[in-house]
């Protein structure tokens, strides 16, 4: 069963996606492939707004019945928003991983880092080889 990999997003090998917003911020979430592998999410631990992250740092935790996985930040910057609706409805990540299931938003400190991420095709290969 193939998972959805929107072509307008960037990705990490560890299955995070990043979307550049018109206002220059980055929205981060986990891919459709990741949510399927984890199973039904029961809890999401999000970073504090204002927290400064470096690229590749563990930023959030997604917890299902069988696993708790770290979510890594695709870029460096300051957390400006966290998806509060996930505290009551973690299943949004399973149902709509690229939309309502977003995890947090970052104001990036180094725009060049976005170029270092995988595009949809490259990420597609990562998923294929798993």
């Amino acid at each position: 069963m193939s998972s959805s990999i929107p072509s307008d997003l960037k990705y990490l090998e560890s299955h995070e996606w990043a979307r550049s917003e018109p206002d220059g911020t980055i929205t981060v979430g986990i891919s459709d492939h990741a949510q399927g592998a984890l199973g039904d999410l029961v809890f999401v631990e999000l970073p504090e707004v204002g927290k400064v992250l470096t690229k590749g740092a563990a930023a959030a935790v997604v917890e299902s019945v069988k696993a708790a996985s770290d979510v890594y930040s695709p870029v460096s910057g300051e957390v400006i928003a966290a998806n509060e609706s996930l505290s009551g409805s973690p299943e949004l990540v399973n149902q709509d991983p690229y939309g309502q299931g977003w995890l947090f938003k970052i104001k990036p400190s180094d725009p060049a880092e976005l170029g270092q991420l995988l595009d949809a095709a490259a990420y597609g290969k990562v998923v294929e080889n798993e």
Binding site: E63, S64, K66, A68, D70
Partner: protein
């Protein structure tokens, strides 16, 4: 080993099935340099008959002295039904019985235990127990640091009236994790923690404040004021309590305006024998909002395929076998046997029974203090309200007096001069419901005799 059921033929067959030449060959991946050879310094094996006799002789040398020591472990009567049930094979020898498909009886019992502990402490959720009260405090400190995301200091304020062993264990267990335990001075005239000792820390980044109730001297702290001060200063509150005292005291969930955040203590008073120091069990309860940071096993109630109630381990993603180095603790077990005893003890006594035990212990300690302070040069140090323990001052070093009492078959109490030298020749005594008027008279007579010599 005589109790392994496999014959040499069985072993040969199994090795052949997996294609291994010998049992030793299965250990080949351990480097030669790490292998032990003959174990030296081990005496020759004893037979079962010899070792049973050796153990009987050793046990007999403990004697059965009359016990007036408390200081964190208390002698209470344990109804015969408790250990008659606990020693059933299903409880006694089951090894890590946490699988839902195999151990519904055990899991239900642990769930009942958790329910009782939340009721007793006035909190919302409990784990299935930790090793002991002291290490439970260490876990609570680590939990507070994790749960309190806004605080960066990892500073824990502890009263000087906290059980000194609990403090040294908490320090030892958390060493290397950059926690700071700051000890607050106590009021020498009352033996308790004054609110004023907290004031110098107002406005500082404090992660948690620890309150022991009753404190190590058996006295009552101003738990409401300290709890409110801590919350007003953005700190979490960790309560360290004697579970039996909660039968008559206000539970930590009702301290101050909001109640405390984490409750820990040692469950030994609830049906666990003294056994020369252990094993006992630690308990931990907390609020639902902190449950994901709580260490230890947690049992939950759910329904099976047919909609019938069933019990299972839950929130396992906190634990080591799933979360590994980021787990809430290295603990992946509980003190199942002692918790079984405690649950049965609490069931048999019920709330009223626990109240009676607590009240009787109070009464016997009062009688003990009255009898002993009649003796010249024995003085009650702190006059405030207390729970079944009291601090007495003698006119000479406590160690010598305790030794003389021991010769008369009496364990007289706990020598406080080691940890609290400022109190001079101070002795912490305790009498529970197990000490009769005759026991107290015997102690008083012996102490009078010891103190009149020289």
């Amino acid at each position: 080993m005589p109790f392994i059921p496999h014959t040499e033929d069985d072993v040969r067959e199994m090795l052949a099935a997996i294609g291994a030449p010998s049992i030793d060959a299965l250990f080949e991946e351990i480097p030669e340099s790490l292998r032990t050879r003959e174990l030296t310094g081990i005496p020759p094996a004893l037979t079962e008959m010899e070792i049973a006799r050796l153990m009987r002789e050793r046990a007999a040398s403990d004697g059965t002295p009359l016990n007036f020591i408390g200081a964190g472990a208390y002698e209470h009567h344990i109804p015969a039904a408790v250990w008659a049930i606990v020693t059933r094979g299903e409880f006694y020898s089951a090894y890590t019985p946490y699988q839902a498909e195999a151990s519904q009886g055990t899991l239900q019992l642990l769930y009942e235990y958790q329910t009782m502990m939340t009721r007793l402490t006035g909190m919302q959720v409990s784990n299935a127990s930790l090793y002991d009260g002291a290490s439970a405090l260490a876990e609570a400190a680590l939990m507070a640091v994790r749960a309190h995301r806004r605080s960066k200091s990892a500073r824990i304020l502890v009263p000087a009236t906290l059980n000194p062993t609990y403090l040294s264990v908490a320090r030892a267990i958390t060493e290397g994790q950059n926690l700071h335990f700051d000890v607050l001075p106590y009021d020498r005239s009352t033996g308790t923690q004054p609110a004023s000792a907290l004031e110098p820390h107002a406005g500082q980044d404090i992660t948690a404040v620890v309150i022991q109730q009753p404190n190590f001297f058996g006295l009552f702290e101003d738990v409401d004021a300290i709890t409110d001060w801590a919350h007003a200063n953005g700190a979490l509150v960790i309560a360290v309590v004697n579970p039996l005292s909660l039968a008559i005291l206000k539970p930590p969930g009702e301290w101050g305006a909001k109640g405390v955040d984490i409750v820990v203590g040692d469950g030994q008073p609830l049906g666990v024998p003294l056994s020369a120091g252990g094993p006992y069990f630690g308990f931990m309860t907390t609020r639902m909002e902190h449950v994901r940071q709580m260490p230890g096993r947690i049992i939950g109630r759910t329904v099976d395929l047919d909609g019938k109630p069933g019990y299972t381990l839950t929130l396992q993603a906190r634990e080591q076998h799933i979360r590994r180095s980021k787990a809430t603790s290295n603990i992946c077990t509980n003190q199942g046997l002692l918790v079984t005893a405690a649950t049965i003890y609490m069931s048999i006594l019920g709330a009223k029974g626990l109240e009676r035990v607590a009240a009787a212990s109070q009464a016997q300690t009062t009688a003990l203090v009255d009898a002993l302070t009649q003796i010249d040069n024995v003085r009650l140090v702190f006059g405030g309200p207390r729970f079944h323990e009291a601090v007495l001052q003698l006119d000479r070093p406590v160690r010598g007096v305790l030794d003389a009492l021991a010769e008369r078959g009496i364990v007289g109490g706990y020598d406080l001069s080691r940890h609290y030298p400022e109190l001079g020749h101070a002795l912490l005594v305790c009498a529970t419901e197990t000490r009769t008027a005759q026991d107290i008279e015997r102690y008083a007579a012996a102490l009078r005799e010891v103190l009149s010599a020289r």
